[in-house]
C-alpha cells in the first residue's frame, strides 16, 4: 500500500511540475505584453508616426524616420536575400548532391547559428571598412545575411515534401526540368514558401545587433543608401538607455509598434496558409449548395 501511495504522490508532483512550468513560460509573455500595452500604448500618438525626432531637450517628435528606415533596410535586404535564398533552396532540394551543394549546406548551417552581433561585424568589415562610413547599405546587407539562411533552409525543407513521382509526372509531360521545378514544384508550394519568407522577414525586422554599427542610426529621415540610417530597433535601444523621460516614453511606443509589426507578420504567416484552405473549402461548399438548388 505504501508503495502505491508513494507512486501516486510522485505522479501528483509530476503533474504539478508540468502545470507550473507551463505557467512559468506563459507568464513572462503576458507580462511583456501587459507592460507594452500600458507603457507603449499610452505613449503612442499620431505624432509618433508622423514626426521625425526633435532636437535634444524639446519634447515631442516621433519615429517616422526610424519606421521608414526599418522598412527601407528590411526591404533592401529582402530584395537580395529572398531570391538568392529561394535559388539556393531550390538548388539544394532539386540537385543537392556534390561538392558545391555540400559546401552550400555547410555554409547555410553555419550562418544559421552565427550570433546576430557577429553578422554585424561581418557587414562592418565588408561595407563600412571599405566605404569608410556607416551606411544603410551595410545595414541591409547584415539583414540579408540574417534572412538568407532561414529562407534557404525552409525552401529546401518545403520543396523536399513534393514527392518524387510528382516531379516525374511533370517530366513525363515532356517538360524540361526547369519548367517542372518552377511551374509545378515551386508554384505548388507557393503558400508554404510565402510563410517561410514572411517569417524570415519578420525575424529580420526585429534585429538590432546587426544594425548597431552598420546602419548605425540617425536622427534624420534619409533615403540615401550610402548614409547612416535610423531603424526602429536601434532607435528604441538608443532612447531606452537615454536619460530623458520623453525619449524613454518613445522607446516604449517604438517597442509597441515593433512588436505589432513583428508579431503581426508572424501570425499572418502562420495562419495565412490554413486560412486560405479554409476559405477555399467554404467557397466550395457554398458553390455546391447552389448547384444542388438549380
Amino acid at each position: 500500500m505504501k508503495v502505491i501511495r508513494q507512486r501516486k504522490m510522485k505522479n501528483f508532483f509530476f503533474y504539478f511540475a508540468l502545470i507550473s512550468s507551463s505557467l512559468v513560460v506563459i507568464l513572462p509573455l503576458l507580462l511583456v505584453f501587459i507592460f507594452l500595452l500600458q507603457k507603449g500604448g499610452a505613449s503612442l500618438s499620431l505624432d509618433f508616426f508622423l514626426n521625425n525626432p526633435k532636437p535634444v531637450g524639446e519634447t515631442g517628435g516621433g519615429m517616422r524616420h526610424a519606421i521608414l528606415g526599418s522598412f527601407y533596410m528590411v526591404g533592401l535586404g529582402s530584395f537580395v536575400a529572398v531570391p538568392l535564398g529561394l535559388l539556393c533552396g531550390i538548388y539544394l532540394s532539386e540537385f543537392g548532391k556534390g561538392k558545391i551543394a555540400n559546401s552550400l549546406r555547410f555554409t547555410i548551417d553555419l550562418l544559421t547559428g552565427v550570433p546576430s552581433i557577429v553578422v554585424g561585424i561581418f557587414s562592418y568589415l565588408i561595407f563600412v571598412v571599405t566605404m569608410k562610413s556607416f551606411s544603410a547599405m551595410a545595414g541591409a546587407f547584415a539583414l540579408s545575411i540574417i534572412i538568407l539562411p532561414i529562407i534557404t533552409r525552409t525552401t529546401e525543407e518545403i520543396l523536399k515534401l513534393i514527392p518524387r513521382h510528382v516531379k516525374e509526372a511533370g517530366l513525363a509531360l515532356g517538360l524540361p526540368r526547369w519548367k517542372v521545378i518552377l511551374f509545378i514544384v515551386v508554384k505548388g508550394s507557393r503558400s508554404s514558401l510565402m510563410t517561410g519568407i514572411i517569417l524570415a522577414i519578420s525575424r529580420a525586422a526585429g534585429e538590432t545587433a546587426p544594425l548597431l554599427f552598420t546602419a548605425f542610426g540617425s536622427m534624420y529621415l534619409s533615403y540615401s543608401p550610402t548614409e547612416p540610417m535610423a531603424s526602429l530597433p536601434v532607435q528604441i535601444y538608443n532612447y531606452a538607455i537615454s536619460p530623458y523621460d520623453d525619449w524613454q516614453r518613445q522607446a516604449w511606443a517604438g517597442a509597441f509598434t515593433l512588436i505589432i509589426i513583428v508579431l503581426g507578420l508572424n501570425l499572418f504567416a502562420r495562419f495565412f496558409f490554413t486560412r486560405k484552405t479554409i476559405y477555399r473549402a467554404i467557397k466550395n461548399k457554398l458553390f455546391k449548395k447552389n448547384e444542388d438548388r438549380t
Binding site: L104, G206, L258
Partner: protein, 306 residues
C-alpha cells in the same frame, strides 16, 4: 534560334550552382576578413588575450577573460533555469494536453521566439531589473545568503537578471527541439508502459525521458548556442562592467554585449581589432556548440527511427 531543352536545363543548373557558389565564397571572404581584422590584436596579445581580465580601452590594454566569464556564467545559469521548464513544457504539450490546447500553448511558446530581443531588453531594464532588486535578490539573500553566489548588494542590473531574460529567450528553442525528439518515439512504447500498470509519471520517465536522453542533451546544447550569442537583451540588463565576481548580483559583461556597446565608438585600431578578436572567438565557439548539438540530435533521431 531555339535552345534545346537539355541545354536549357544545363544553363539553369549552371546558374543555380553559380549562385550557390557565390554564397559559399561570400562566407569564406567574410571569415577571411574577420581573421584579418583580428590579426592586430592577436599579434599583440596572442592567446593570453583569453587569460587576462584586464580591459582598458584608454590604455589600449585588452583581455577578454571577464567577457568570456560573463558569457559562460549567464549562459549556463539560463540553461539551468530554462532546461527543466522547457522539458516539462514539451512533455505537457506533447503527451498531456488535448490537441487544441496543445496547439495553443505551442503557438504561445513559439511567439516567445518571435519577440525581438530589444523588446525583452526594454522590459528587462524597466521591469525585471527592479523586480529582481526588490524581491528576488532579498529573498535569495535571506535564504541562501551563506553561499557566495548570493552575497553582495543587488542593483537589479547584473548577471542574475541577464540570466533570467536569457532563460526566457531560450525556452522556445529547447522546447521545440525536445518536442521533435519526443515525437519520434513510437506510441507503442508509451502504451506498453501504461499497459504494465505504470503511472503517467512512470510512463514518461521510462518511455520518453530515458530513451531520448541524448536528444534532450542536444536540445539543451542548442539552447546554449542561442544563449551564447544573444546580444541586445543582455547588453541592456547586465551593466556592461568587465569584472569577474562570484556574486550573481554583480554587474558583468558578455562577449556579445561588449561588442554591442563599444564597437561603434571604438577609435583605436587595436580596440577595434580586439573586439573583432572577441567576435571571432564567439563565432568559433557558437559554431562548435551548434555542430555538436546537431550531431547529437541527428544521431538520436537516426537511432530511434531504426
Amino acid at each position: 534560334m531555339k535552345i534545346s531543352y537539355s541545354k536549357q536545363d544545363r544553363y539553369v543548373y549552371t546558374g543555380l550552382r553559380f549562385f550557390s557558389l557565390v554564397v559559399v565564397c561570400l562566407l569564406i571572404a567574410i571569415i577571411f576578413q574577420l581573421f584579418k581584422a583580428s590579426k592586430l590584436a592577436f599579434d599583440e596579445f596572442g592567446l593570453s588575450f583569453v587569460l587576462s581580465d584586464f580591459w582598458n580601452p584608454v590604455e589600449d590594454e585588452f583581455g577578454a577573460l571577464a567577457f568570456i566569464y560573463g558569457t559562460v556564467i549567464t549562459s549556463l545559469l539560463s540553461l539551468l533555469l530554462a532546461g527543466p521548464v522547457s522539458i516539462f513544457v514539451a512533455i505537457f504539450i506533447n503527451e498531456f494536453l488535448p490537441k487544441k490546447l496543445a496547439s495553443i500553448l505551442g503557438v504561445f511558446v513559439e511567439l516567445i521566439a518571435a519577440i525581438p530581443s530589444i523588446v525583452f531588453g526594454l522590459w528587462g531594464l524597466y521591469y525585471l531589473a527592479p523586480f529582481v532588486k526588490n524581491y528576488i535578490s532579498p529573498f535569495l539573500k535571506k535564504y541562501l545568503g551563506f553561499i557566495p553566489l548570493f552575497q553582495g548588494t543587488s542593483f537589479g542590473i547584473g548577471i542574475l537578471t541577464a540570466s533570467l531574460i536569457l532563460a526566457i529567450m531560450i525556452i522556445p528553442t529547447i522546447t521545440s527541439v525536445c518536442r521533435e525528439v519526443f515525437r519520434s518515439i513510437p506510441n507503442l512504447r508509451k502504451e506498453a508502459a501504461l499497459g504494465l500498470g505504470a503511472t503517467k509519471y512512470e510512463m514518461v520517465k521510462l518511455a520518453i525521458i530515458n530513451p531520448s536522453f541524448s536528444g534532450i542533451m542536444g536540445a539543451l546544447v542548442l539552447g546554449l548556442g542561442r544563449a551564447l550569442g544573444e546580444t541586445m537583451a543582455v547588453a541592456m540588463v547586465i551593466g556592461n562592467n568587465p569584472v569577474i565576481s562570484t556574486s550573481l548580483f554583480s554587474s558583468g559583461a558578455t562577449m556579445a554585449s561588449v561588442m554591442a556597446n563599444e564597437y561603434a565608438e571604438a577609435d583605436s585600431e587595436l580596440h577595434l581589432s580586439a573586439l573583432c578578436y572577441i567576435g571571432l572567438l564567439l563565432f568559433v565557439v557558437t559554431f562548435i556548440v551548434n555542430l555538436f548539438a546537431r550531431t547529437i540530435v541527428w544521431n538520436n533521431s537516426r537511432k530511434s527511427r531504426s
